[in-house]
C-alpha cells in the first residue's frame, strides 16, 4: 500500500466505480455494435448494396429508316458522349477541362462556357461532347489515369447517311424538352430521352422510339458510375421499329446535286400510281447529323439567324403564289361547269392585254398571243384568255369550286406542320383581310394564279397528281405500303381531264414554255409559273409542275419545282423538274443516268437531238 492510497481512502472505491463505469460504457458500445453488425447485418448489407447500385436507363436504338429500295436513310449507330463528373473542389473541373484540351478541340471561350454551365448545375455531370468519335474515346481510355473525372457514356445515336439531302424530309432528333414533357403526346417519356423533332422523325416518333431498358451500375456518393459502364442489365432495351419509305434516296441525292446551291426553293416528286412521296426537298438545307447529341448553341443560332432560313421546309410549310401553274385549276373549273370547250376561243384575242372597265390587264407576252383555244391558251399560258374565262366563271363560283377542290386545305401528307393553302373561302375574305368589299375584278388576278392565293409546292403537286390520275389523288404518303386516308377529288370527267393533259403536253411542244426542257426518253407534260410576290417585286418565284412517263403512256410521276425569286419558270424551274423526272425514270427503266440532258443542253453543247420535235 503506497502513500497515496493511505492518504486518499476513497481512491480504491472511486477506482472501483471508475472500472464499473468503464465496463458499463464499453458494454453499451459492444451491445450497440453487436446489434448493428450481427443482428441487423442483413438489413444493412442490403442497404449497402442498394446504396451503390443505381438504376440507369439504357437508351433504345431508334428504328432504322430505309428508302423504297432498302437503302439506309437513317440508322442507329453506337455513339459516345463525354461527361465530366462534378467534384467537391471547383478547380478540379477546370483542370480536367484544360487537360482535355490536348485531346479535343476546346478553345478557351468554350471552356469558359462549360465552366459557366458547371457553376449553374454544380451536381450534374457536365456534358463536354455529345458526339465524340471512337478514336477520341479510345485515346481518352488510354489516358484514364490522368482524367479520373471524365466519363464516356455509350448510347445509340442517330446517323443520317444522306445527311443534307434528306434533312427536311427526315427532320432531326433532340432531347425532349421540359415543355414537351408536359404534353399528352410525351406522357410516357422522361428527361434525357431523345425524340424526333421534325419531319419523319417526329411524325413516326411512336414507331421509331423503342423502349428504354434498365441496368444497375455501381456509383459512389456523388453518383459517379465507378464500375463497368454497362452494369448489370435487368431489362434489355427494345429497339424501335424499322420503317420503309416511299422515298427514292438516289433521286433525293440527285436533286440535292442539281439544285443550284445559291437558290432557295423546293422539289416534290410524287408517284402517280399511289401518291407515294418519291422525293421531297427543300433548299437551302442543313445537316441533321449536327443535331445528334445536342446541337452547339452557336450552330443553332446561325441556322436560325441565316436569312435563307435553312430550317424552313419550303416544300411542305412554305406558301407561294402559284402563278400560271394554277391556270389549270381555272381551266378545270371552266370545263367542269360547262363554260368552255377544249377548242373554244374567247371573244377577245390576245393583244398583249385587255381592258376590263377602264383598267388594262396585261398578258406576259406583250406582243400578244392572238386568238387561242383553251388547249393553246394553256400551252402559251395566255393571261388574256384566262381573264375572260375567269370572268365567265365569276368570282363566287371560282371561289366555291376551288375550295371544293381543296386549295384551302392540307394535302394530308404524313409529315408534321403541313401548311394548308391560303385561298379565300368566300366573298367575306376581302373585307376581313383587306377591309373592302370584293370587286368582280378580283377574279382576274385569281384566274392567273395571283391574288390572295398561296399554295405549298406539295399542294400544287397534289393538284397535278389528281390531274395525272384523271381527277382523284390519294394523300401524299411518305411511309411505304400504307393506305392513304384522305383523297383529293378535283371533280372533272375523264374527257375534261384529257383536255387538261393535252394542254400540258403542248407546253413541251415547240412554242411551249417547257419545250427547251424536253427529254430524250420520256414524255413530259407540265406547266410553268412565274409568280409575282411581295418578297421582291422585281423578281418572281419560278414554278414548274410536271408529269412524266414513257411516251404514249400514262404519266408515272409528278414533279413540282419551286425556285424562290427564280424569275422564270421555264428557264430556271423547268429543267430542274425535267432532270428530276429523267433521273427517276431512267433508273426505273434501266437507262444509264450519266447522260441526262434537256433539249436546251443538247443545243448548247451541240449534241444532236434527233428525238426532238421540230
Amino acid at each position: 500500500m503506497n502513500q497515496f492510497q493511505v492518504a486518499h481512502p476513497e481512491a480504491s472505491q472511486r477506482a472501483r466505480i471508475a472500472v464499473v463505469g468503464l465496463i458499463a460504457l464499453f458494454a453499451v458500445l459492444t451491445v450497440a455494435f453487436f446489434r448493428l453488425q450481427v443482428l441487423e447485418a442483413n438489413t444493412y448489407e442490403l442497404r449497402s448494396e442498394s446504396n451503390r447500385l443505381r438504376p440507369f436507363p439504357i437508351e433504345a436504338p431508334r428504328g432504322a429508316v430505309f428508302d423504297r429500295d432498302g437503302r439506309v436513310v437513317a440508322s442507329s449507330v453506337p455513339g459516345y458522349s463525354l461527361h465530366v463528373f462534378p467534384s467537391a473542389a471547383s478547380e478540379v473541373m477546370e483542370t480536367t477541362l484544360e487537360r482535355l484540351q490536348s485531346y479535343l478541340d476546346l478553345d478557351d471561350e468554350r471552356i469558359e462556357l462549360l465552366l459557366e454551365r458547371a457553376r449553374r448545375e454544380p451536381y450534374q455531370p457536365l456534358l463536354v461532347d455529345g458526339d465524340a468519335d471512337f478514336d477520341l474515346v479510345s485515346t481518352l481510355e488510354e489516358h484514364r489515369a490522368e482524367l479520373p473525372n471524365v466519363v464516356v457514356r455509350m448510347d445509340p445515336k442517330r446517323q443520317y447517311q444522306a445527311a443534307r439531302a434528306v434533312s427536311h424530309l427526315m427532320g432531326y432528333v433532340g432531347e425532349v424538352t421540359a415543355e414537351e414533357l408536359e404534353q399528352e403526346r410525351y406522357s410516357e417519356y422522361s428527361r434525357g430521352m431523345t425524340v424526333g423533332k421534325e419531319g419523319v422523325e417526329r411524325q413516326y416518333e411512336a414507331r421509331l422510339q423503342g423502349k428504354r431498358g434498365l441496368r444497375y451500375s455501381e456509383v459512389d456518393a456523388l453518383g459517379r458510375v465507378v464500375s463497368s459502364p454497362f452494369g448489370q442489365v435487368v431489362q434489355a432495351p427494345e429497339p424501335g421499329v424499322d420503317m420503309q419509305l416511299n422515298l427514292d434516296l438516289d433521286l433525293m441525292e440527285w436533286i440535292h446535286h442539281i439544285f443550284p446551291d445559291s437558290m432557295r426553293g423546293a422539289v416534290v416528286v410524287l408517284d402517280a400510281e399511289d401518291g407515294g412521296v418519291l422525293a421531297l426537298y427543300s433548299a437551302p438545307t442543313f445537316d441533321p447529323n449536327s443535331f445528334v447529341g445536342g446541337i452547339e448553341p452557336d450552330e443553332w443560332a446561325s441556322l436560325n439567324s441565316d436569312p435563307d432560313q435553312p430550317l424552313f421546309n419550303r416544300a411542305v410549310v412554305g406558301r407561294y403564289a402559284p402563278g400560271s401553274t394554277w391556270k389549270l385549276a381555272v381551266a378545270a373549273i371552266g370545263l367542269q361547269l360547262g363554260l368552255v370547250e377544249a377548242h373554244e376561243h374567247m371573244p377577245q384575242g390576245c393583244t398583249g392585254g385587255m381592258f376590263v372597265g377602264n383598267r388594262r390587264f396585261g398578258c406576259w407576252e406583250e406582243a400578244g398571243h392572238g386568238a387561242l383555244n383553251l388547249v393553246e391558251a394553256i400551252q402559251h399560258s395566255c393571261n388574256v384568255y384566262f381573264y375572260q374565262l375567269g370572268l365567265r366563271i365569276g368570282l363566287e363560283r371560282l371561289l366555291a369550286n376551288a375550295n371544293e377542290m381543296g386549295f384551302a386545305r392540307q394535302c394530308g401528307i404524313d409529315l408534321p406542320r403541313e401548311s394548308p393553302g391560303v385561298f379565300p373561302g368566300g366573298l367575306g375574305f376581302w373585307e376581313e383581310r383587306f377591309g373592302y368589299r370584293a370587286q368582280e375584278t378580283e377574279v382576274l388576278s385569281l384566274a392567273i394564279g395571283q391574288g390572295p392565293n398561296d399554295q405549298t409546292p406539295l399542294g400544287i403537286a397534289q393538284f397535278y397528281l389528281a390531274m395525272a390520275r384523271g381527277g382523284q389523288a390519294p394523300a401524299p404518303r411518305i411511309l411505304r405500303g400504307e393506305e392513304a386516308g384522305a383523297t383529293w377529288d378535283i371533280g372533272i370527267s375523264p374527257e375534261h381531264g384529257e383536255v387538261l393533259i393535252e394542254g400540258l403536253r403542248r407546253v413541251f411542244m415547240p412554242g411551249g414554255t417547257g419545250y427547251m426542257s424536253s427529254l430524250e426518253h420520256w414524255e413530259l407534260m407540265g406547266k410553268s409559273g412565274t409568280a409575282q410576290n411581295a418578297q421582291d417585286p422585281d423578281r418572281s418565284h419560278a414554278w414548274f409542275a410536271a408529269m412524266a412517263g414513257p411516251r404514249g403512256e400514262q404519266p408515272e410521276i409528278v414533279v413540282v419545282v419551286l425556285v424562290e425569286l427564280g424569275e422564270s419558270g421555264s428557264i430556271v424551274a423547268a429543267p430542274l423538274a425535267a432532270k428530276s423526272a429523267d433521273y427517276f425514270l431512267r433508273k426505273r427503266y434501266g437507262i444509264p443516268t450519266d447522260t441526262i440532258q434537256t433539249l436546251r443542253e443538247h443545243i448548247l453543247t451541240g449534241t444532236p437531238a434527233p428525238w426532238a420535235i421540230w
Binding site: 502513500q3 497515496f4 486518499h8 471508475a18 472500472v19 468503464l22 458500445l29 453488425q37 444493412y44 465507378v226
Partner: protein, 418 residues
C-alpha cells in the same frame, strides 16, 4: 529484447496496446485512401500519419524521461501559453479540409497544428496541480471537507479554454474538456451528489424543451437539495436552483444562437430520419457501413461504402466506421477492447501512483480519452450526436496523434511517481 522494450516503454502492456492502435490506425488511413475514384489528397495521407507516428514515439521517449517535478512546475506556464494560443487562434486561425468554416488551426510556415490539442494536456496538468495542492492544503481531504463551492476553481480553470474552443466552434474538443473536468472531480472524491448538482444545469438545458419533463426534473432536483440540505449552504442550493431555472428558461434563446449545423446535429441525434441528406446523412451512411460489415467485415481496403465515398470524413472522424465495415464486429470488438484495456490501465496507474499530482494527471488523461473514445465510436452508431471528435491514436491528424503520445508519455511517467 523484452527487457529493452520494457525499459523504453516503462509500462509494457499499456504502451504495447497504444503501439498496436497507432499502427492499426496508419493501416486504416492507408485503407481510406483506396477509393474507386482515386482522390490524390487522401491517397497519400497515411505516409504523413506514419511520419507523425514516428515523431510521437520520439516525443514519448523524451517526455517519459522528464522529471515529474519539472512537469509539475511547467504546468501553469503551459496552461497560460495554451490559453493565449487559443485566443490567438480565434483571431488568426484557419480552417482546414471539411472543417473549413471553423478556425481551429494555427499556421507556422508550412506547419499547421491545433492549439486545442496542446490546451487539453496543459489543462490536465494545471488542473492536476490545482487539485493536488488543494488536497495537500486540506490535509488529506475527507468527505466532510467538501463544499459545493470547491468546484468553482477547477470549473473556471477548465471553463476558460473550453469556452475558447467552443467559440471556434469545436464542439467535440469542448466535450473532451468536460470529460477531463468530470473525471478529475470524480477522482478528487467529491460527493457524487455534488457532481450531479454541477452538471444539473446541463440536464436542465436538455429537458427544458419539454415543459412536463422540465417540471418533473425540477421536482427531483428540489427533492435532492432538500435531502442534502444539511451539507449545503443556503446560497449553494439557491444558486443551483437559480442556475437550473435560468438555464431551463433561456434554453430557447441559447438554442436560437446555435449555428444551424449544430441545431441540425442535435435534432438528428433525437431523430436520425429527420434530415437524411444533411446532418443525418453522416449517421445513416456510417450505420450502413458498420452494419454491412457484419461479423467479420468485407476485408482490408475492400469496404464498399468507403470505396465509393459514401462515408464522410472517413479518414478522420468516421474512421471507426471504416474499421467496422472492413473488419466487422470482430474488428470493432478488438479495437474497443484495446481502448478498454488502455483506459483500465490508466485507472490502475492512477490508483497505484505515489503522488496526488501524478494521480490527477492520469485521471485527467483518462477523462479526455474516454470522452474521445466513447463519443467518437458512439456517434458512428447513433449513441451520441455526430460531433467532430477524432478517435485517439487512430484518426488521421498530425498534432492530434503527437499529443496522444505526449499524453501517453505523461501517463507512464506519472505512473512511475513514488
Amino acid at each position: 529484447m523484452r527487457a529493452l522494450f520494457s525499459r523504453w516503454a516503462l509500462d509494457s502492456g499499456f504502451v504495447l496496446a497504444l503501439l498496436a492502435l497507432s499502427a492499426f490506425g496508419v493501416a486504416m488511413i492507408y485503407s481510406t485512401g483506396q477509393l474507386n475514384v482515386p482522390s490524390p489528397v487522401v491517397e497519400g495521407v497515411w505516409i504523413r500519419q506514419l511520419v507523425w507516428f514516428a515523431l510521437g514515439l520520439t516525443a514519448f521517449t523524451i517526455i517519459s524521461r522528464i522529471s515529474s517535478n519539472w512537469i509539475e512546475w511547467i504546468s501553469v506556464p503551459a496552461y497560460v501559453l495554451a490559453v493565449v494560443l487559443l485566443a490567438v487562434t480565434l483571431v488568426v486561425g484557419t480552417g482546414r479540409g471539411t472543417a473549413a468554416g471553423v478556425t481551429s488551426f494555427l499556421q507556422f510556415g508550412g506547419f499547421q497544428f491545433q492549439p486545442a490539442e496542446v490546451a487539453k494536456i496543459a489543462t490536465i496538468l494545471a488542473l492536476a496541480r490545482l487539485m493536488a495542492s488543494r488536497r495537500e492544503a486540506t490535509g488529506h481531504g475527507s468527505r466532510r471537507s467538501w463544499q459545493l463551492t470547491d468546484v468553482i476553481a477547477p470549473s473556471a480553470l477548465v471553463g476558460l479554454p473550453l469556452l475558447l474552443v467552443l467559440l471556434q466552434p469545436d464542439l467535440g474538443t469542448a466535450m473532451a474538456f468536460v470529460g477531463i473536468l468530470m473525471a478529475v472531480l470524480f477522482w478528487s472524491g467529491i460527493p457524487l451528489t455534488y457532481l450531479f448538482l454541477l452538471v444539473s444545469p446541463a440536464i436542465a438545458l436538455i429537458v427544458s424543451f419539454n415543459t412536463w419533463l422540465f417540471s418533473a426534473y425540477m421536482v427531483v432536483l428540489v427533492g435532492l437539495l432538500y435531502l442534502r440540505r444539511s451539507r449545503l449552504y443556503t446560497f449553494e442550493y439557491v444558486a443551483v436552483l437559480v442556475f437550473n431555472l435560468a438555464v431551463g428558461t433561456v434554453a430557447r434563446i441559447l438554442w436560437d444562437s446555435l449555428a444551424p449545423y449544430q441545431q441540425n446535429r442535435v435534432l438528428v441525434f433525437l431523430d436520425p430520419g429527420l434530415d437524411p441528406q444533411q446532418a443525418g446523412y453522416h449517421l445513416v451512411q456510417s450505420k450502413v457501413a458498420i452494419g454491412s460489415g457484419g461479423l467479420t467485415g468485407k476485408g482490408f481496403t475492400l469496404g464498399t461504402q468507403k470505396r465509393f465515398n459514401f462515408l464522410p470524413e472517413q479518414h478522420t472522424d468516421f474512421i471507426f466506421a471504416v474499421i467496422g465495415e472492413e473488419f466487422g464486429f470482430v474488428g470493432t470488438l478488438l479495437v474497443l477492447s484495446g481502448f478498454a484495456y488502455v483506459l483500465f490501465r490508466l485507472v490502475r496507474m492512477a490508483t497505484g501512483t505515489g503522488s496526488h499530482f501524478a494521480s490527477f494527471v492520469l485521471f485527467g488523461i483518462f477523462g479526455a480519452w474516454i470522452t474521445h473514445v466513447f463519443v467518437n465510436t458512439g456517434m458512428t452508431v447513433g449513441l451520441v450526436p455526430v460531433t467532430g471528435i477524432p478517435l485517439p491514436f487512430i484518426s488521421y491528424g498530425g498534432s492530434f496523434l503527437l499529443m496522444c503520445w505526449v499524453a501517453a508519455a505523461l501517463a507512464v511517467r506519472a505512473a512511475r511517481q513514488h
